[in-house]
């Protein structure tokens, strides 16, 4: 293995000094002169027709500078399916949907104005159950589903129903597989509605310039998508729509699509002709921003006597709430992956994204993978137990490996699954004798990395400092550190000599978005290539300066020198200075990146069979194991230890990988054991940190992150992302451990003490 000087080292993150001293700026901290405060009036009904809105009293309130409602806004769709406008127009479809918005000189006045807006609604019968919503003859949440403008050709809404997308996967002959099987297992699994709970809420500050150009500060994961969608909605050229993203205080998917926050801020700023800040409060975070899809997953699996998987059939229902948002994408990936990371000849999946009158579900760390993994890994455990096969063995027996053909037809590469399974098993002490009341569980997963495209620019300044411009967001995942290490390695400058400016679409090169675990792979590659370009330019200029052949030059420690005579050299600052005066101009390396010969969204899936040679940039794999005890009198679960082995291709920064895994594991504990948004007639009943419990420091057991490296031939230095997978196998690992000690098999998340207790009682009876 070749060795690198910075890649592979767990260096301290590059942004932590600012963050430790409170100096780091977030959108949340932005204040502009003359700035107004925005507030949103939201629907109290899950489903209702808007008959009339009277805004006259609110508009006359002193201090109110702008008011907008459905009749004032451009009627263009916000996102993929074009089914949602920035404020409701004719109907409201969930409790919390924006109906009107005001901008006022202070927050209290804005609040007061909301109270003065009168809306007449005509209530409509709501639909809350996705299975009812799919039934024939169900009332329609979107009557005009067939007329919406589809941004992606593959979106597959079924007009006249509540199904906004369906992905099908067909491989082999699943019925024949079942006939051949020694046993067939059918189970139904469900998952709850959960919230991302980033500590920085959704916030945007919009300002209108003298020539109608717009500057928007936003806490978003996707500045280029926001720019493109806002330019479409408001019909402003892209070059006049500038999006700036300072540090983001957590995203986890909730900020990966365009939300209603950015366009409402812009709409208000345009109306008021003054800067407007729109920041959600915590209860709005819980009730109006996207949630993780509640799901119903029906699995049918046929197995040979010795535990070989012969056929797998999945019907997955994604309860996407009132609008499609990212739901169709989630359903698409879920449809590909529902049979798990196993070699199975016969697979049949239907993955259905369904409207209901509930909070909109969208991207959430894992992008559907967590729900799918909960189901197939619980199912694997059920099978193993029934057949009397060790749960680790049955997974190893069926696990995909290098060169295997996936259910969607891709020949797989960079598959660290078996190594992850073995490492997790070893770290937890799989098979060791456990004290009574203690159980162990194991689970594994596969997760795609979204491709799209990325670009980067690497500039050498006159003082020799190197700036890396890229379009990916630093939201706590460590991307600024990763690109710093890559640039440092490629050019040969110390990391201390590199800075990463904040994202500003006016200067930053394009990026598809910070989601889908893609930035290390895609942006990492763009930065690698841009840095190579910058290095080439540096050496070329140095060759002229030193009169030494290009091939003889090396760059190390921020200095270019002759390898024959190292004393003969020039510093980067000198080269930059020289270059500014030469026809070559400033040293600016640049590159774009997408997968060679592959459309930037990946090779499309066959619409009937879901087959594609390469739908994703790469796939990551992981295995996790849990050791738990369960209190027999209360059903309370105590996790003693969680181990997580993740195939990251190659760790650019191992500490950073471990940080991502640990954080995700703890999110996984929350979503497994207690996180759930409760609903009453479509209204979320626990919209606060007091009533929606997230893990606290004392809830956290011993965590053991383990890095597995199965380098990817296209990854920068072999790397793949690890932001999302960390919580996907956690639920099943814990659930399987609970079953190991109590024999109670729970199929519905979260696994609360009440559920365990009542199941235990039932078994006793």
């Amino acid at each position: 293995m070749c060795s690198y000087s910075v890649v592979g080292k767990g260096i301290s993150r590059v942004d932590v000094m600012e963050k430790a001293t409170g100096a780091a700026q977030y959108t949340f901290d932005i204040r502009l002169p003359g700035m107004l405060y925005g507030k949103v009036l939201r629907s109290p009904y899950a489903h209702a027709r808007i008959v009339h809105i009277d805004t006259s009293r609110a508009e006359h309130l002193k201090g109110v500078k702008a008011l907008i409602c459905g009749r004032d806004i451009p009627p263009r769709g916000l996102f993929h399916l074009g089914d949602q406008t920035l404020l409701a127009t004719d109907k409201v479809r969930f409790v919390g949907e924006p109906v009107a918005a005001v901008a006022a000189t202070d927050r209290d006045t804005a609040d007061e104005a909301l109270d003065l807006i009168e809306v007449d609604y005509e209530e409509l019968p709501p639909l809350f159950d996705p299975e009812e919503a799919m039934a024939e003859g169900a009332l329609l949440i979107h009557e005009k589903l067939g007329e919406y403008h589809r941004l992606m050709p593959w979106l597959h809404p079924i007009p006249g129903t509540n199904i906004c997308h369906l992905t099908k996967l067909r491989r082999g002959d699943v019925e024949a597989g079942f006939r051949e099987a020694y046993r067939v297992y059918e189970n139904r699994f469900t998952t709850s509605m959960v919230q991302h709970c980033s500590l920085e809420p959704h916030v945007a500050v919009a300002a209108v310039g003298a020539t109608g150009d717009i500057t928007l500060y936003a806490s978003t994961q996707s500045p280029f998508l926001v720019r493109e969608r806002l330019s479409h909605v408001f019909q402003i050229p892209i070059s006049k729509m500038r999006v700036i993203v300072p540090y983001v205080g957590g995203g986890f998917g909730a900020k990966s699509a365009v939300t209603t926050v950015e366009p409402i801020a812009v709409g208000l700023a345009l109306k008021a002709q003054a800067p407007v800040k729109l920041q959600l409060d915590r209860s709005e975070e819980f009730t109006s921003t996207v949630v993780r899809h509640p799901t119903v997953i029906n699995l049918k699996t046929g197995v040979s006597r010795d535990g070989k998987l012969l056929a797998s059939k999945a019907k997955v229902i994604w309860d996407t709430g009132a609008y499609a948002d990212d739901g169709p994408f989630v359903a698409r990936w879920g449809g590909l992956t529902a049979s798990g990371p196993y070699q199975i000849e016969n697979v049949w999946n239907d993955s259905c994204c369904v409207y209901t009158n509930k909070a909109v579900a969208g991207a959430f760390r894992g992008f559907g993978c967590s729900q799918i993994t909960w189901a197939h890994e619980s199912q694997m455990d059920i099978i193993a137990r029934d057949l009397g096969i060790d749960p680790l063995e049955i997974r190893l027996k069926n696990a995909v490996e290098e060169g295997a053909t996936a259910a969607w037809g891709e020949k797989l590469h960079s598959v660290g699954l078996k190594a992850s399974l073995r490492a997790a098993a070893e770290a937890i002490g799989w098979g060791k004798k456990l004290p009574p009341g203690t159980g162990m569980g194991i689970a594994c997963m596969h997760k795609f990395t979204v491709a799209l495209m990325s670009s980067a620019m690497v500039k050498v300044n006159d003082d020799g400092r190197v700036e890396v411009f890229k379009g990916s967001i630093e939201m706590g995942q460590g991307n600024n550190t990763i690109v710093t290490q890559i640039a440092s390695e490629v050019i040969g400058v110390p990391v201390e000599q590199i800075s990463v400016p904040e994202i500003d679409t006016r200067f930053s090169p394009y990026n598809g978005g910070t989601f889908g675990s893609r930035d290390t792979f895609m942006v990492g590659n763009a930065v690698r290539l841009a840095a190579e370009d910058a290095r080439r330019q540096l050496l070329k200029a140095a060759a002229e300066m030193l009169k030494v052949p290009f091939e003889e030059l090396r760059c190390e420690g921020g200095r270019v020198f002759s390898s024959e005579n190292p004393a003969e050299g020039v510093y980067l600052a000198e080269i930059a200075y020289y270059s500014n005066a030469s026809p070559a101009g400033p040293i600016i390396g640049k590159s774009g990146y997408s997968l060679k010969g592959i459309p930037f969204r990946g090779i499309p899936l066959d619409p009937e069979t879901g087959q594609s040679e390469r739908p994703a940039a790469c796939w990551t794999y992981a295995a996790q194991a849990a050791e738990v005890t369960v209190d027999k009198d209360t059903g309370t679960v105590r996790i003693l230890k969680l181990v997580a082995a993740h195939d990251v291709g190659r760790a650019i920064n191992p500490t950073n990988c471990e940080q991502q895994i640990e954080g995700a594991l703890v999110m996984g504990i929350g979503t497994t054991l207690y996180e759930e948004l409760g609903l009453d007639a479509g209204r979320i009943v626990n919209p606060s940190f007091a009533d929606y419990k997230v893990p606290r420091a004392s809830d956290v057991p011993e965590l053991v992150p383990i890095i597995i490296e199965a380098p990817h031939r296209d990854g920068p230095f072999g790397a793949k992302g690890v932001g999302e997978p960390g919580l996907a196998p956690t639920a099943a690992a814990i659930g399987n451990a609970i079953c190991a000690t109590t024999s109670v098999r729970l199929k519905d998340l979260p696994i609360t003490p009440e559920k365990i207790f009542s199941e235990m009682k039932e078994r006793e009876a």
Binding site: A20, T21, C197, R282, R696, A697, S698
Partner: protein, 159 residues
Amino acid sequence: MKAKHIELVVNEKAYDMTVAVNRTLLEVLREDLNLTGTKFSCEDGECGACTVLLDGKVVRSCLTLAVDVRGRKVTTIDGLSQNGELHPLQAAFIEHGAIQCGFCTPGMILSAKALLDRHPHPTEEEVRTAIDGNICRCTGYTRIVKAILVASQKIPMVS
């Protein structure tokens, strides 16, 4: 809204100001004094992001009225490093990878400081309890706990 005159000391600097009686310490720090290091995330006392020290004790600045802190000493993250030198807790948070998005960090560090100031050598369990009111959604807490314990080990034992 009625306003009152108050004096207070923030990060060892004295201020004399008139504030509306309904304004919180959080608002006054961030908006009037432009000390934006202190964050907020719930304004409900539940997340700890707005934690500051009042005469050395942990308070939620979102629940504290500015007029109620008249004459008292407030410490925020913005004033923790002295003459460019990091507080040992800040240094430990950096060294042990306890910071990801950084939004919880100011509150977390101040909760830890209050703990170590009154109890310089806590057990791991005591550390976890002391920061239980501070939500972090990014780190999983493990490295935060480690950083606090390491910082505490640097405090000399008094016999």
